[in-house]
Symmetry: D2
Subunit: 394 residues, 4 copies
């Protein structure tokens, strides 16, 4: 019966899957309706409209029924036509990874790369676009989660739009936690997921698609159709009068509905502000505790994730184990190139509240101290985080 | 707040998505764990093992993170190598549909077709395999839901095994509701979903894969990898020590866990028996009410779905609307070729209990009567259904 | 782990505890707040106001934190002063029972009694009040659930008001399922519970108290104070600025909140109409199946409960057992004087929908048939119920 | 719809109602069964047995269907016979309060009183019992929550037993969080509630009753019967074959069942240890932050509640408001004599985990700092708490 001999953690302070809002958990437990029941059809249409409101966009978004890697793979498969030249912008593991998908479909993939603790430069993008006018599509990972760094999406988007190219943006772990809206940054395909800053479980992708992107995908004979990887099949699927290409994930839609109600009721700017404040407090605490941030500069550190550079000689798995065992706190490891070099504290959805920074700073600092790192000051770390929390009121 | 101005139905008696068990709904509302949390890793491994127990199979199954159309598309993409000759067995819309996926990857797709209210014949399959020894793979839809008919999977499986070919079986809407176990029917890839007879929401696929199928997929250079469509990437992903190819659907796994606990505790034979009894009562009631079944013979009528042939001149959408409005009962329409010709009553998971046959018979008969069909006898229908229900005790 | 080796029933068609609405179950699973948390204080006040709206009353109601027997005992203890002459109106077991509580506190308890399958007569009440002008308080059980019969509350209330007396009304199992509102019937203390027609679990009482009743209770030195039985302690407890006499049942309040949202959104008259229709269909079905009603006349049969007279020689426990075993349907037995003479089908909250009448008629008729009663016609019963269901649309 | 314009807190660190375990919330959302359904009867009996296991007692406990003030009032009303001399032991507000109930029923109530930041002395109790051999019943509040102090229950119990008297123990907020078991401390009536250390919502009382207490209550003609205040009516009500005196709180029983499963699976000593560790860390942090404890000595400070003495001139309501507004943390105020003099941090159930001490210390210290108290050191406080947390592993 009990499939979990290991006790559940007390705090899941990860970069996703994240702790879900209680209202989302209740949403997930709603009775399951038949997808063609008129109540569900109307519900689905209403949820899609709420995504549009959250996107502040002018056209209806698309919900795909798999976690955001589905949407990213589908975007590559659908938008990139044979022979297309793609400029892939890379400042981390996830940006790099998109290049592999792009290479499956593109004629050529160019890459502009920043160090994995740095951000891309919009001017460099503009220069590259001038140099290679044959570029058709630019791909950007806004928040490269394995590094906890954010790129200047609006500036890059403006440069791409000015050059008349199409832009794919991976905003999976940034949307909902900071000011990144698809039309404001000129994204043609914008991918996010409810399982990060919206505080839902993983299982869905949310996409904004521009008219230009729809046109290109529909003209692309190789774009997946009658496939799990299809985007075009779902263009009108949110309309109550239209069929679903296949069965939607009914319960995930119910969870998303609850999350969007919370998000829209609180107001996006208020939500973004608490993400930013939590991250700021966390960074202040980490530094004051005697530790270092991974990101080269605080300006590019993500409001939804704080990557802490590991002191020399520390085994990150051992660190995460001791943090969980002693404090019941779960944080994320790095990925690929960043694995072993950092650990990451998520500030997403329900945990994007400043008070959590005390827990995360204490847990990470305490864990390192327990592993024998010298010069850690837990008290100073927490006090510095607390000061940021209090500053909002002073 | 209320995204549903249309009231929820009272009874969802569909062929999927189906009503979920209350324990599954509670499972879905469990806190969301980080996928790499040791508690979740152990939990995932334990759930995978429960799927194996439910499959009564000798090797670990695979869970894919999308509803079963993902698994079917992935099976076609992974198992069928360039140039393979595939024999697609067709007795309905879903069997036919698999042929389109097969054609994307195969050298040649042969089809053996039965009328859509009939079942395939194992001898004909054996004959075809003898005629065309170059066939590499046979594909069978066990229960073609849009027709509500079942094919003799064990006999066909034996013929395919005898001929040394590989067999793909779509058991999406039959597994869990009747005696169809992957190894017993010699399936090499066996696809089902928790969103039918296990009483979960849609969002996952469950697969059994034989050693021979693993060998062929791993040898197939074109089998999807680093893709949502990959099966091979997930071969060892259930092991707590192994990484997930991408983020699993945490909450759906929690729901599945609860469903498997119910299934294994009740005992598969007991579960199958109540599906069979419910369907038998439903068919008896439909006939006694003066209506006709879609299936040519009761022997091939599915224990998990009763397809009722519509009287001449009846608009099926109008029928489903009147049934929902008057009685709060939701049933399924046909699909493609069967759309408009029948309506389908699901007996899956929580609604696979004999007493529901009274509701479905009365609702369908009542709806047709309300639409002006003459000669309907609601009372006789319900009485006949009741007699089957009671027969178990006499 | 599994504390229930006995499987859960499929349909709980009882007179309380009743099946709860899914939204109520989700409400019960909301996080538990501290009772003095400002969010909870505001929530409690808001829920109290929703009770007032449901009561359509002019003053704030009182919520007591125990199921309605608490409120009834508390009403007797609080309103009846030493020496008071109480007229207890009796048409069933619950009305009779109130007399025992009344006798603890009153100087004298008079009773006006109708047979337990009949209703009281307002004229007789008026006559008694004229005969005994020393009567201070009249007590009425509106719907005597063990009989499934309703008394003419409005007429009796008018008579009591005309005589200048105070009226205690037990509307536990009628409010929310029919037109019985505290001020409209001139009740001075009106007791109901969310665990009947509102579709909540048992655990709370809802009271309307008139100004006159407040005055009398506050003047009554013997009225319980600093006690679980106190009503006066709670007079202002719903105000966010006031303390709770003791800790309120937080989760039950959350469940009640969800139930009231449903009730107010659907509209009370619509809710009453489906209770009435369900009961009418059930009665028609029971009669057509060859069975008898307990109530002497259909006009007094409750819209929230149908009491079926048992055929001679039938053991009611055996009947309920066979109905549950065969059909998964749970119905209620009689109580005290009616125990063994009838079984009761509840039409309360979520099961107060006409389609359920088919299930209940078939189950009761089927169970009696299984016990060997001759002349039962399940089909005729269900057909007659169905006719009532359909009549609303013809 | 939204009855809560005030956002929910982030951390409820109160002394009750407390945050409930997620598994308890899911338990509360189980379908509601009819109380006389055989599945519920068996379930209730099983839950009662789990209470017995948690009590480690030799006889079946009693569950009353109201929060523990019901059980305390009922204990006074049931056990104290007219003319009985009762010795009420007082070391705080709740102990004092019991005296008022006792006085309603007793011939005489004697009180032995300790200052409200101190504990009672077992020797003094023994002396008093010698002085007044006519004492029949002794009443003890084990953990006087408004003071956060615990009395030596085992020693006092031994003294009372040695003198041959009956002992009523209020262990409402101590049982489940520390080593206090009814038979081990010789309690004759032992009252606790699931809404404290077991992590359930308020709404039930759990009682152990000794044979001697049963005998006295059953012999007491004035003990409540057919009343919400009755204990004797419930003596055998947990047996599946026995009727309930009135409808039990079905959903609360479901929540309790889940809580007991957690408690018994974790093991009581492990649960007590984490309560103790959390309180110890909290006290260390409070002191290191420059604040004072209410309790005169750490040895008598409760493992389930830390009472912090307020600095001079601090308004406690203002403090709780600022703590909630800034940090989202809810703590408890004092009660009656202690109101305004202290605030209380609960360590009960899910929040009785050491990591929470960091949050509570930071929040309380931060709040006082924000109100202008000088000399507060948040960092030192958290560091000291952390040291206690870590000490368990060093």
């Amino acid at each position: 019966m009990t499939s979990q001999p290991i006790p559940d953690p007390i705090f899941t302070l990860t970069t996703g899957p994240v702790d879900a809002y209680p209202a989302v958990l209740r949403g997930l437990s709603r009775p399951v309706l038949y997808d063609y029941d008129p109540a569900f059809l109307a519900h689905y249409e209403a949820v899609n409209e709420k995504v549009r409101l959250a996107f502040r966009s002018s056209s209806q978004p698309v919900i795909l029924h798999g976690e955001p890697v589905l949407a990213l793979e589908a975007a590559a498969a659908s938008l990139i036509a044979k022979g297309d030249v793609v400029l892939n912008l890379v400042s981390g593991v996830y940006g790099k990874g998109f290049g592999y998908w792009a290479a499956r479909y593109a004629g050529e993939v160019l890459e502009l790369e920043a160090p994995y603790n740095e951000a891309l430069d919009a001017q460099a993008v503009a220069d590259e676009l001038r140099k290679r006018p044959d570029i058709a599509i630019v791909a950007l990972c806004h928040h490269d989660t394995p590094s906890g760094t954010v790129n200047p999406a609006a500036e890059i988007g403006a440069a791409v739009r000015a050059a008349g190219k199409l832009l794919i943006v991976d905003a999976v772990s940034s949307f909902g936690g900071m000011d990144v809206l698809p039309e404001a940054i000129n994204a043609d395909i914008f991918v996010t997921g409810p399982n990060k800053c919206l505080g839902c479980p993983p299982g869905l992708s949310l996409l904004h698609v521009s008219e230009a992107a729809w046109d290109k995908m529909e003209a692309n004979a190789d774009a997946p159709r009658a496939s799990m990887l299809s985007i075009v099949d779902w263009r009108r699927a949110h309309e109550a009068s239209q069929p679903f290409p296949f069965t939607p994930s009914v319960s995930e839609i119910n969870g998303l509905d609850a999350a969007l109600d919370l998000y829209l009721a609180e107001g996006d700017e208020a939500v973004w502000a608490r993400h930013a404040r939590t991250a700021e407090a966390c960074r202040a605490g980490i530094l004051a505790a005697g530790l270092s941030l991974w990101s080269a500069r605080q300006e590019i550190a993500s409001p939804t994730c704080t990557a802490v550079r590991l002191p020399h000689g520390i085994n990150e798995a051992a660190l995460r184990t001791i943090i969980r065992d002693r404090y019941g706190v779960v944080v994320s490891s790095g990925r690929a190139e960043t694995l072993g070099k950092l650990i990451r504290i998520g500030h997403m959805g329900p945990t994007a509240r400043p008070i959590y920074s005390l827990v995360s700073v204490a847990a990470v600092a305490g864990g390192l101290q327990a592993l024998g790192v010298k010069g850690i000051d837990v008290g100073a770390g927490v006090a510095a985080a607390m000061e940021v929390v209090d500053r909002a009121y002073n």
